[in-house]
Amino acid sequence: MTTPPTGARQTLTLNINGQDRTAEVEPRTTLADALRDQLRLTGTHVGCAQGSCGACTVLLDGASVRSCLLLAVQAAGCRVETVESLAQDGQLSTLQQCLSDAHGLQCGFCTSGMLMRATELLRDNPAPDREQVRDAVGSQLCRCTGYRFIVDGILAAADRLSQKGVENGRPFAAAVTTRTEA
């Protein structure tokens, strides 16, 4: 790989939510900033910019990471999944709908990070117990809800997904539900 001169902008190709996207970034541009400013995927939020709060959490090759602590150039060749991958054709995913139904969000700032952590959890462990869900979302700071409804929502989603199974040949995170099913 050719390294450009100091700090210079480069055109970077990233695989975001299954699509190859290009962004003009400097080496110092974090993945969070590239997603938000260059790719206009503003579902990923920047809270503390230090890796503590987790609002910026995305999945990199299936594992949750702090996108504010990753340089965009480091994500080259990896699969990046953001919260924008959850809803399909404007319909909330089961996980999103259950979180909403459980009142698991108020200001919504932490929500995208919570959803990505929950997505990762439910892929690895489709039937978590309460402690396991608490352990997963414990990496994410929420100042509004007190966490209980977030945990309730994720458990409800796990329950509903186990009933619905896989839809349209896609893993559960893309499973679709509509308000009329509530």
């Binding site: 001169p5 100091t6 974090t30 890796g51 702090r66 952590r117 997963a136």
Partner: protein, 292 residues
Amino acid sequence: MKLAPVEHHLASTVEDAAAALVAPGARVLAGGQSLIPMLASRATACSVLVDINRIAGLDAVSEANGHAIVGATARQSAVLAHPGLSGRAPVLAEAGRCVAQEPVRNRGTVIGSLAHADPNAELVAACLVLDAVMVMHGPGGDREASLADFLAGPFCTTLRPGEIVTAVRLRLPAQGSGQAFVELTRTHNSPAIAGAAVVLTARDGAIDSAAVALCGAGPAGFRSRPAERALIGVLLADAPGLERAAALIADESSPVPDVHGSANYRARMAVVVARRALLTAAARAARTKEQA
């Protein structure tokens, strides 16, 4: 805050990385979980980030002859989940689960934590009781140093210009050892106020070897030799004997105060966590004996 302009060099080999590190202001970028926030907050600056994440084989974790070798880019979450390591050296996983949060551990490396040399680092304490040896490559060739000799103070190491840590070698404790890591934090997984790592072996119910290391109790993590000497011969069931050994740590503690704990509080809590870790490790050693 955002990072200042910086060059990014993606190293293809260890030699390539070491050569790039000779440039003034060059820093290694591995997990970046400590470095990037420091750069973003402008607490530190560097000219070029030497990215070692794509060097083939540098993330290897292997075991042989009673030792484990953990490569420079082995992610903390991978090391914690390694079946051999968690079986023979559970103190590493117990300490590792206390580090930051899982998304941070998915990128952060074990060696990164050791090289960052935070006085409060849990992994430093765990690696100290595993007699960790740092393996380094640099302009002068390869060299090794014990972790104790590698640590020089708060966020300081004896790494020389142009050198890069390529691996850490850990001694796997004997079967039947009792191991424990206990720390005190303000909230779940916030930085350690004080932490203690312990590995005990016993014969006929009496301790015949002991390793006790502290974090948060000094300018760097350290082994408490007085406590270790005092433990020899103490019965696993002798709680007062274990507590007396823990109490010796008070004289050795010279904590660096910060927002998470004052020096005085850390010093007092170092004794508390050491006591708890000793009692837990002793109980585990006793249980292993019963099961054997």
